[in-house]
């Protein structure tokens, strides 16, 4: 090892200690609790599968996460596609605007959506006054509101991931397609989209993993009516104190996400996204 490498290694030590102390160790604790609380054995896991309430929570979580991911990735692709076509100066402004939500707390964003979406909120008022609707629409405290909030939260991440990927696509390949006679729609479906698959897949994976663990946004915009796993866990741990069930559910979710990542990594587009470069 050279001196430089020794130094570089030394610099990673604090982060490693923190990660092990605050992350790996608690995970093992969770794992242990799931087998030991309230009494040793597989009881918690067995009870998970027989429990209708938990089944509903898991189903809600999956439906909301999948819808959020699909909508986020499609919308983010549109925005990212527009951004990479912009001249340099305008692109900088656009990226800046994309990042603005990062500075606003999740709570503030969730409550802003409530003011916009509730029955006598901004959107319903405008629509009623414009005569588009006669009755206010139920836009929040339901799955729709939760998905709106979550998509809004995930968009900047997905946009940045996609801009990085789309920006890397060699413009000469696009020009080549046009020079060969491909009309714009063909260029998009036959060239842009296949070449952006690594970016799309990593944005999808990132969004779905993030969505599965959402707590604050669904709690506020769903108002208890759209119960997702994270909120359910938080209730079990802080209110009903059923630690055994909560830790077992967490463990299952961790395993599920692990399997998801492992499965996704088998896909060539995903391996390319992670720098294998061999799509």
């Amino acid at each position: 090892m050279t001196r430089f490498q020794r130094w570089a290694l030394a610099l990673t030590v604090p982060a490693a200690v923190l990660a092990i102390g605050l992350y790996v160790f608690p995970i093992f604790q969770v794992l242990a609790l799931s087998f030991l609380e309230p009494k040793p054995g597989f009881g918690n896991y067995v009870s998970l599968f027989g429990n209708a309430a938990i089944g509903r929570v898991v189903r809600t979580t999956i439906i909301v996460s999948v819808l959020t991911t699909a909508i986020t990735v499609v919308l983010a692709y549109v925005v990212a596609f527009a951004i990479v076509q912009m001249p340099r100066g305008r692109r900088r402004v656009a990226l800046f605007l994309v990042m603005v939500p990062f500075w606003i707390s999740v709570l503030v964003r969730a409550f802003s959506w409530i003011t916009i979406l509730r029955r006598n909120g901004v959107l319903n008022t405008v629509l009623t006054e414009a005569g588009a609707i006669s009755e206010p629409l139920d836009l929040v405290y339901n799955q729709f509101g939760v998905i709106v909030g979550m998509v809004h939260y995930m968009m900047p991440f997905a946009i940045l991931l996609l801009v990085a990927n789309l920006g890397d696509i060699d413009r000469r390949i696009i020009q080549a397609a046009r020079s060969l006679g491909a009309q714009p729609a063909t260029v998009f479906w036959r060239v842009w989209l296949p070449l952006s698959l690594p970016g799309v897949s990593i944005a999808t994976l990132f969004t779905i993993i993030f969505s599965l663990g959402f707590l604050v946004t669904p709690a506020i915009l769903g108002a208890g009516r759209v119960l997702m796993i994270a909120e359910y866990l938080s209730v079990q741990i802080s209110s009903t104190l059923r630690w055994g069930v909560a830790t077992a559910l967490s463990t299952l979710m961790l395993v599920a996400v692990g399997l998801l990542v492992a499965g996704a990594m088998r896909h060539p587009a995903m391996r390319a996204a992670f720098g294998g470069g061999r799509a």
Binding site: I173, R178, S179, L180, Q183, V191, L195
Partner: protein, 355 residues
Amino acid sequence: MAFLDIRRLRKSYGAAVALGGVDLSVEEGEFITLLGPSGSGKTTLLMSIAGFIKPDEGGIVLAGTDVTDLEPEDRNFGLVFQGYALFPHLSVRDNVAFPLKVRKWEKRAIAERVEAMLALVGLDQLAARKPRELSGGQQQRVALARALAYSPRLLLLDEPLSALDRSLRETMQRELKRLHRETGVTFIFVTHDQEEAYAMSDRIAVFQNGRIVQIGAPRDIYRNPASRFVAGFIGGNNLIRARFSPETGTLSLLGREIAAPQHFDVALHHRDGDVSAWIRSEDIAIGGAEAGFESFDVTVIDRAFIGTGERIAVRTGDDEELALVIPDGAADAVVVGAPLQCRVRPDLIGFLLPD
């Protein structure tokens, strides 16, 4: 009217003029090369022809049709990029089939044409490979096959060989000439390598600062460069300064005073006595005066083996540096730092118009 007519094409980027009013006529089936130093506007012209750059002024007419405002995808020209720009996600076969699928050819016709094109460029064995599994020369061939598959009337090539090593380059040059002959397609080829331009072209257009400063057959350009710039850019030329004395009708050059040769035009070739002249390296020989030659004394400053012979750099009495190329073995008596006698035929000295 010519097959392709380019009229007063102008393009500026802010204050930078990329094309300063280019006129160019190309005949059907011609192989024309755009030659010029880096930044002289060759790519800009090619991309304007292809439709990717919208000129500020001027027009492009192909076979009597104004194509200036057509989108690139509607022009039906072939285009080969410097970096090949193959579709990385498609196999060789699908790369070549792309323009045909886009044109909604029938499946069978596509398969047949792809086979024929791959055979034409000698890649039939590699049809199933992805571009990244090919060597540079093979990728180049795929790019050519793809650009020629739909029988475009015009093929535009932007330095297609510059990334290849020398021997592969020569093979590909022959290949390109063969493709040109066999397809009859009009080729517009960009390079900044003059030997490549000589070897391949029917005509060469020499670019300088966004303008075509000379256009003609390779031999014409080599024998009669139109300006100091062209004479200097065409390799193998020594540019020298001379003085003309009207009273005696003599030229002083290379540290000598010689009678002005026949082709020296007193009215044209000098300004207040200053004359720009050039001598090709291979026209200077080592040795004393002989009938028809003028000799002059020089000091040797360098000698370099170049394979086919030696290139010798010398300094003349009037402090000009010259390069001469002599056959291998003829330079045994040449010693760096020592004096040497050289000779040249005055009728091979070229004179430039004052610029």
